[in-house]
């Protein structure tokens, strides 16, 4: 009795601290209407002022409860305006419009291509425009937590009840600003542009049958109605130490040390090592990408909307989630979107046969 009273008092006291958070229904993993799930830039990272100016191809995963949707109604545009410091999100509000002077139209469809604007590092990077005479210098854009800068773009989806927007970001290589020449050179020598990750596969029941999911109902895995199954998304392993000849131009390799890997350099399609300028230590340090998988389905439910491996566990190249199949037999669409910390993305569209 005393313990019960104490527990009651304590629970109440916790309520004082925390209050009670409502359980607002809904989960992002449930696809119950048209949704843009991902935007991919290919290549994942480029230097705006490279010679020649890089061409970027952007593509999107546009889905609905009945599978992938026709993306022809999607309107693409690059945003050429910088957002104020305290504005939420990653894009200037004026770019979230069907048209406008700050939008650089890219066309429509499931993918578009364009030259990467060469002003990216000035507008969205560490090299702000040269100030007017007598004026103080503008503030450079702050990097993200991986040290990256991004060219924003938006997709406008002309829905019956108005436009809905999705924002994509293309990582741009701008180097370092306001560092010592040695630090800049060190960074330049060791930094490798990000490469989009690759979702190797998604399997059901990885520890037993390991049946892979496919987009073909006749070959995909079969799951019992109402059952709970473990799904595992896998991506390639990335070497922690550079090995010449592995096809990956690592952070500490260059054309001189390893021409085989670095003449036409490629990164790793998993959790890539990369170098980062630590503003606190003011030194170039080694880091590794964390990986996340966003799970979506048009039926059933996931235990978690997203799973992944943080940077500290980047050596693990898979992540698991539990999916509860719907009680009604049939084919259920399912998607997995793999993202790395530096803005790289890949996805897979699957069907699960529920019987």
């Amino acid at each position: 009795m005393v313990n019960a009273l104490l527990r009651g008092a304590v629970v109440a006291a916790v309520g004082l601290v925390a209050g009670c958070k409502p359980d607002i229904a809904g989960a992002p993993s449930i696809i119950d209407g048209p949704r843009i799930l991902a935007i991919k830039s290919e290549p994942a990272e480029a230097a705006p002022k490279a010679n020649p100016t890089p061409t970027i191809t952007w593509s999107t995963l546009f889905v609905g409860p009945d599978g992938n949707l026709d993306p022809s109604r999607l309107d693409w545009a690059l945003c050429m305006a910088r957002k104020p410091l305290a504005t939420a999100g990653e894009i200037a509000p004026e770019c979230l419009a069907p048209s406008g002077p700050d939008l650089n139209d890219l066309g429509a469809g499931d993918s578009v291509s364009n030259l990467l604007p060469d002003s990216g590092c000035n507008l969205f990077g560490p090299n702000p425009p040269v100030p007017m005479p007598g004026e103080p210098a503008p503030r450079p854009t702050d990097p993200d937590s991986t040290g990256g800068f991004y060219q924003p773009l938006r997709i406008a989806d002309d829905e019956p009840d108005g436009y809905e927007y999705a924002v994509g970001l293309t990582r741009i290589s701008c180097g370092l600003a306001r560092v010592s020449p040695d630090q800049a050179a060190d960074y330049q020598q060791r930094y490798r542009p990000n490469q989009n990750p690759s979702l190797s596969n998604v399997v059901v029941d990885p520890d037993q049958s390991a049946a892979p999911l496919t987009s073909d109902p006749s070959t995909t895995a079969v799951v019992n109605a109402g059952s709970q199954v473990t799904l595992r998304a896998t991506w390639p392993d990335c070497p922690l130490e550079p090995t010449c000849g592995d096809g990956i131009c690592g952070a500490n390799e260059d054309k001189n040390d390893c021409p085989a890997d670095c003449t036409d350099p490629h990164g790793c399609a998993g959790s890539e090592p990369y170098v980062y300028f630590d503003l606190n230590q003011r030194a170039v340090v080694d880091r590794r990408e964390g990986m996340r998988v966003s799970w979506y389905s048009a039926g059933g439910s996931f235990e978690h909307d997203r799973t992944g491996q943080p940077e500290a566990d980047a050596a693990t190249s898979y992540t698991d989630n539990v999916w509860t199949a719907p009680n009604t037999p049939g084919d259920v669409y399912l998607w997995a979107v793999l993202r790395d910390d530096r803005g790289g993305v890949d996805w897979g569209s699957f069907v699960v046969h529920v019987e």
């Binding site: 601290v17 958070k21 607002i24 410091l85 991986t146 999705a166 992944g308 940077e311």
Partner: protein, 886 residues
Amino acid sequence: MNRARLGLLLAALLATPTLARAQARTKAAAGGQAHGVVTKPPQVAHFVAPTVPDDVKLDQTATVELEIAIGVDGKVSEANVLTGSGIPELDDAAKAAALALEFEPAEIDGVPAPVRIKYKYEIQPPAPTQTVPDTAAFTGTVTDQKTKAPLAGVKIELDTGQSAITDDAGHFAIDGVTPGTHGVTLSGPTFTPIGTEETLEAGRRYEASYEVQVAAAAVPDEERADFEVVIVATKLGSKITSTEVTAEQGARVAGTGGDVAKVVENLPGVARSTVGSGAIVVWGAGAQDTRVYVDGVHIPVLYHEGGYRSVIHSDLVRSVELQPGGYGASYGRGLGGLITVGLKPLEEPGYHGSVQVDAIDSSASLRGSLNDKFHFGVAARKSYLDWVLARVTSEDVGDFVPIPKYWDAQARVSYTPDEDTSLELGTLFSYDTIDHNLGSSDPADIKREAKMTRFSRYYLHYVKKQGGDTTSIVPYVGFDETRVRDIFGTVPAELDNRTTVYGLRASYTTNPVPWIAFSAGIDLEAAVSSLTRNGSVTTPPREGDLHVFGQLPQDQDNFDNWKTTTAGLAPYAEADFSLFDDKLHLIPGLRIEPQVVRVSRLAPPESDSPPVGFEREDTEVDPRFAVRWNVSKRVMAKAAVGIYHQPPFAEDLSSVFGNPKLGPANARQFLVGAGYKLSKPLSFEVTSFYSNSSDLAYRSPLPTPLRSQALLQGGDGRAYGTQFLLRHDLVDRFFGWVSLSIIRSERRDGPTANWRLFDFDQTFVFTVVGSYDLGAGFDVGSRFRYSSGYPRTPVVGADVDERVDGYFPRFGAQNSIRIPSFYALDVRGAKHFKFGEQLALELYLDVQNVTNHKNDEEIVYNYDYTKRSYITGMPILPVVGGKLSW
């Protein structure tokens, strides 16, 4: 020689210092504050009866009422006839006799002080000659000074050991008293024992008349004063609008958990803080704009993290006072209110202390006197809610909700070499930590919030009184530290702020002429800070930022380390001109503060180049003026105007996250009000105010702000409103108040921006507080609170950010909706047990939100901002505790 009998009018000063202040006029005491708690009433040490002139033929009782001034030496320096007998010669005789009286001096705040009291002689005609017996008869009546009702059950005891108890008519009679001068003690359940002397002559019947102000029985003896005392030293009445609550009352307010300083949240002009916040928003000013002082020592916070408890043990607190605005020239550096915590004098005999235990924390205190000159007080408190939770719950609750851990400690040693001099050495410590981890399967959704705040203060408090003058010097040094280690996924939000604080408050108060009180002093404060910050500019959001609870932080990262020095030396002077027989007080004041702000880094860290610093000097001139007009004994009118300046916060002087060139912000405050004393304990006060602030720091709205200008200076603020206070002082076992504040507070982020509601604007705050002593050791109390909800900015849509796979909101008009209104009823009951003369035990039950009303505390949205709901506050919260004191 005619024989005289006398009655002594005994009218008690209420134990509540508020009334004491209302009645008393005292010089600025230690730390430049004016206090007036009578800790010891004057006692007649040598009685002198009036000598009735032989040519005066007295055929009936004559009464002469005088006002006498008693000095610190106990001698009567002045006697004025207030109500004469109609016989000038007799009045002169009474005056002469009064001038020859000698008293044990009164003590104010434990220190001997000059006072004025009303004194009445009742001179009776000589009895007809008859056989003179060898004893005297001592009779009389005891009545309630306020109601004039007779008091039954009062014990009248002579130093001979003879005694009597008053009957229902308040009458008593003691026969057979040995002639001579005898000490007389009146004691009863509703007032502090009163001592006086009466001279009895053989064969005479002495008819005495005592009027006693009844005080609540629960008031400790040491806090009572039962003479109506008007303190001689003219108080510097610069507190035009203030609400002061004694420790005893504050501890009995429901919902405070017995914590005296928690009562501030219930005072007029103070917005209700959200659950777990503890922020004190006064008259629409930011929480950081309100300054907190403990006996003249500035401290950074009044409450521990989460607002559970104050940082000062209640046993050391004499009173807590809030001046929401319009305060005098002796204080500055804040645009908001002023909270002053007065510490309890240590000079009391014996050893006293307490041990208090409840489900959240425990505390203990000990006060004592080493000898006549050295006294000490120590107190400490430590929370253990986390420890309790770990033992009564199966889950690690601390991983899901932030459980604050805290402790505080205070130590004081005072030295009083003589009655006019005191020296106190004191220390204050406070320490808070919060460590909150929220794991997630999503690496980007892993959250950790870790915060540590602590401060310490070491001070000396020297007070010297010479005649009617007082010198007070309070030097102090302290250390403040804040360490934040938050991380949201891969986005850090880190802040370190280590500050060394130096302060000196010195004042000299005098009365050059009786109708002028004058005070001059200096107020020095210097803060040397070393800071580092890492993370997004907008995390955490500051006032004015558009954001919603739970919003994804900006994935932007920057870093800065910088040092700041902020120093100001403010000489000030203020005077109180008491005109027209004390009816009109004109209180001008002037504060001039040369101020230096030095920042180590004018531009963000760059390459290996050494930082270039920046220094600015400003001289702020802050005139203050107040007027108080005692229209009648019951009606008072008041007005005040003043200019206030506040130096920039060290956190805002970053070249990356703020602006190193920020200067002081300023405010102009205007207030007008009136008070009406409905009866002895009941008073009503209304105050209207307007505060206009400018040069506030605000977030740069530019898409491309200039370097080192993430914050700009030039924001404006305005707040206006009216507060009402109906207060019943502690009389007849009851105290309480009803307060209503109607306030609107707005901000403008830059000269071209539109006015918007302040993030912490609360239109209505209505509070009812009451506590009643049921007798037999029981007291009950209740508190009802109603307040408007804080404004919030509605979310009108959301767009998806595909890089982080999250939605970010689109906002509507800033602060155009509100969280629903809040109301809650709290009750408190306590039972006091006495064990012998010293030991006492209090068991209490404090139930907050007794109706279990679900108050909405914050707006939350679902993942794509298509659904809105509310976080509700605490459910019914019973807190059981006990306090053993001696």
